[in-house]
Subunit: 521 residues, 2 copies
């Protein structure tokens, strides 16, 4: 008997076994749609923990699917405990009767099983899996199985394109009716890598349209959204974004405030625990956000090196090829840039300190490495969007930066997003407490650890304390002398500052070149 | 930087960040160790939903690891909501202060990642994964990833042996100091397959020691434990089992009442949603229970056919080989029997009705197929345990059955387990309501569907209504005439009986041979 037939039979049997249950409200907001049943009663009805049941409030014509938890003490047989979020969604009162019905084993479980067995799924099956996930029909464990199978068995182009389109359809899309619409993305992992806030005003000033959505920090000290928020509002409605970009060619907003790729949040939550990033899912997740804003040209920054996401150059090249190939099939022209991610970009680490770097670069000063990287990327994007001839993008980007057109465009963007008029690097707020770290040795800097520096900055309060973080006085390759200042740590809390100092002293994220590498006897 | 170093650093950082929280009790028993935090507060401290935190009640020197859920409304920053089971385990009062600390990303996550990457794990790493799972240090999603990886990448003998030993060590073990200790196991899926209750008294009467632990029904109409419970108590303490088997050579008890292979329940819960039975885990789970009772000789019944777990003969042979090979390494001599699982064994389906079949066989009557299968298996076990020469086991088993020694042994076991003296098939209770089903056609029976018959019996009330179920009047190959009775359905509830009839009529679990298989034009 085929699964579909068996499901069909089970459906009919379960239809007969619809249950009437008495509501007992539980005054807690749960994270998901969770309900509680008396365990003896549940077992007698063939219901176990983690089973899904469909609840119906026929009076108000509301229904939803919930996951079952069991209790021995709290509820009597025939009662159902509803957490506040569930009770509200069903619009029920305490003591009221509602109908419950076992939900069929979703058909998508058999698709997940197929993927586990090594089969390639159609775009349609991928679509159904993600839709079921969004409706809570699949548990975290089932989705983890799916992700694991995608990781081990890999994903075909069709699967990735299918997933991309599903993610796009799961949320809203931007409709600008302008061209060229361009975008950029960085794979991340490099502290202080705030090129976006320089690239956006350059390409916008050159006549491109760039509706840039950025993320907040997850494990780093600052995301672009956190950094931009030092100066302006980043939580815009989708209509506001459309209006702004149509009028002034660019924006820098927080992607989390709009519903661009709703399914992506769910996918990120699943990938999180094991840092399981199946390449196909990573690609789909990034490409979906580009497609959702209508981008036609896009550059992708893939930092490579010790301590960042991708440590190996050949892996980076492979990923670059995937982006370009899939981009073609989705109608996005992509150029992938493999960049040096060995040590931080710029001097600041933390929202306000990184913001200061950005404004200084736009004003014609600022850290050289940040300026250089932003100009290279902006130049490539201008070439891609045919605003500059091949090989002339960098020069065009540099002239826009030098002429202060990029600064003016950035000031305009900040003002549109509710920030101060004519913003300058002097307006960036500074934390109350500062502690300077001096080198205890003389030598050449061989490594600045992105992850550990982020940890120190976070211990100091970043990113929730926007003014907290690190300001570096050295970069890889510099000769430093004993007693020379190597960084300042900033914080608005004396306690946090001292914790950050302890963290720093214990792990020394700044490494000097060693003469004697090992001694064997 | 290696994971271990990084964990080390994180540990030190987190140690600094110990939090004091105020307890708010929530009057609900949760299924696991779940606590609730204010979400804004949690984010500021780098804690997200599903993170694990260690809680400490220093006053009472209690601690445990819990999984974090988040709320926006119920709790203030700095408060922690404890479900009743957690509050009890920590022995805390409402309003009291406790310490919370982020639990490190368990090192076992990197072992799971290794398994996902296709590496083979050492027995020690497998052991640590299962121990972390038992202590709630790994989430269901993480364990689902592990199971999926074991399924896709397979498991080495060392991994399976390691897992078996871990499962054995997770629970109690039986110490009988007798020999030979024998056991049997069936892979399951065949309705009415109650051979255990015949094999145990035969081999016990022949001088073997058989401490048989059985399971209850999960999706079937009756497990051996449910069936035995019709006549006797099956929830025995481990000391009672030891005493009984030492005295009268055998018992038939419910494995769930003792703590033989504690880790197994956790593993079953994880395998459940996707019916993901990685062969290595299945083997370890079965072998661990045999090792935990000290079995030296064991037969394994592997039913094959349409509608049972293993549909393919070559898969069954492969599995048989694995059992024998692994058994050798664990010191258990195993014989695997591949049996015909196409249709039900015996006439009864449901605890009491299956019990009746068993007693009738022991009394010298009863269904031929049940008698035959039990004698074959008992015979093989007697040969394996050197109670009979090769080829003479069946005859010995038959003589023990025919002489009523097996019946007397069974009566002795029932009486030891608190049942009636001199139990007979006439003592088996019968349900109040009965409905006879007549054939609507004439023809030869080509298939009796195990799964669908189980569904009908469950609709009638089995296994919680012990007297409910089906009594079959036909088996595969029989010629039946229109109007001839083919089965009785029993139930103690008129409503359930009518539901069962509806289920039966709609899905026809009894198929007749078709002359015309298809018509094409």
């Amino acid at each position: 008997m085929k699964v579909s037939e068996y499901n069909n039979i089970k459906e009919k049997i379960f239809k007969i076994q619809k249950m009437e249950l008495k509501v007992r409200k539980i005054k807690i907001m749960a994270a998901g749609n969770i309900v509680v049943l008396n365990s003896t009663f549940a077992f007698q009805n063939g219901i176990y923990a983690d089973y899904r049941i469909k609840l119906e409030n026929t009076k108000k014509k509301k229904e939803l699917i919930a996951i079952v938890d069991l209790t021995n003490e709290m509820l009597k047989p025939g009662e159902i405990g509803l957490f506040e979020n569930v009770a509200k969604a069903l619009d029920v009162e305490d003591g009221q009767k509602i109908y419950a019905q076992l939900v069929l084993r979703p058909q998508t479980l058999s698709f997940i099983k197929e993927k586990i067995e090594g089969k390639t799924l159609t775009a349609d099956k991928i679509d159904q899996i993600i839709k079921d996930a969004m409706q809570n029909k699949l548990s975290d464990a089932e989705l983890a199985s799916f992700m694991t199978a995608c990781y081990i068995n890999g994903m075909s182009d069709e699967e990735i394109i299918g997933l991309t389109n599903t993610i796009v359809e799961s949320g809203q899309t931007l409709k600008l009716n302008k061209k060229p619409i361009v975008d950029k993305h960085s794979i991340g992992g490099v502290a202080g890598n705030r090129t976006t806030m320089i690239i956006v005003p350059i390409v916008a000033a050159a006549g491109c349209y760039i509706p840039k959505t950025s993320s907040r920090a997850i494990t780093s000290a600052a995301g672009t959204a956190d950094t931009m928020e030092v100066l302006a509002n980043v939580s815009l409605e989708i209509e506001e974004i459309e209006k702004q970009v149509r009028s002034i060619n660019g924006c820098i907003v927080w992607g989390g405030a709009i519903n661009l790729a709703a399914a992506d949040d769910k996918l990120i939550k699943i990938r999180n625990p094991l840092s399981l990033d199946p390449k196909g899912v990573l690609l789909a997740s990034i490409l979906a956000k580009k497609k959702a804003v209508g981008a036609r040209y896009c550059i992708i920054d893939i930092p490579v090196g010790r301590g960042v996401k991708i440590e190996d150059a050949s892996e980076a090249k492979q990923l670059a090829g995937d982006f370009i190939n899939l981009g073609k099939k989705l109608g996005i022209e992509i150029e992938a840039l493999i960049t040096n991610g060995e040590d931080p970009i710029g001097n600041g680490i933390g929202p306000a300190l990184e913001c200061k770097d950005v404004l200084e670069v736009l004003e014609g000063k600022g850290p050289h490495d940040l300026r250089e990287k932003a100009l290279i990327m902006a130049g490539k994007l201008l070439e891609l969007a045919q605003k500059a001839k091949k090989g002339e993008g960098f020069a065009l980007a540099e002239s826009i930066l030098n002429s202060k057109k990029a600064l003016k465009k950035f000031q305009q963007i900040v003002q549109w997003q509710g920030g101060k008029k004519n913003i300058s690097s002097k307006d960036v707020p500074v934390a109350k407490y500062k502690h300077t770290i001096y080198s205890t040795k003389t030598g050449r800097v061989s490594h600045l650890d992105n992850k550990l520096l982020a940890r120190v900055a976070r211990a100091a309060g970043a990113p929730s304390d926007k003014e907290a973080g690190i300001y570096l006085y050295c970069e890889k390759g510099d000769m430093i002398s004993k007693g020379q200042p190597i960084m300042d740590i900033y914080s608005n809390s004396e306690t946090k500052l001292s914790v950050a100092i302890k963290v720093l002293e214990e792990y020394g994220p700044v490494e000097l070149e060693k003469v004697l590498l090992d001694s064997i006897r």
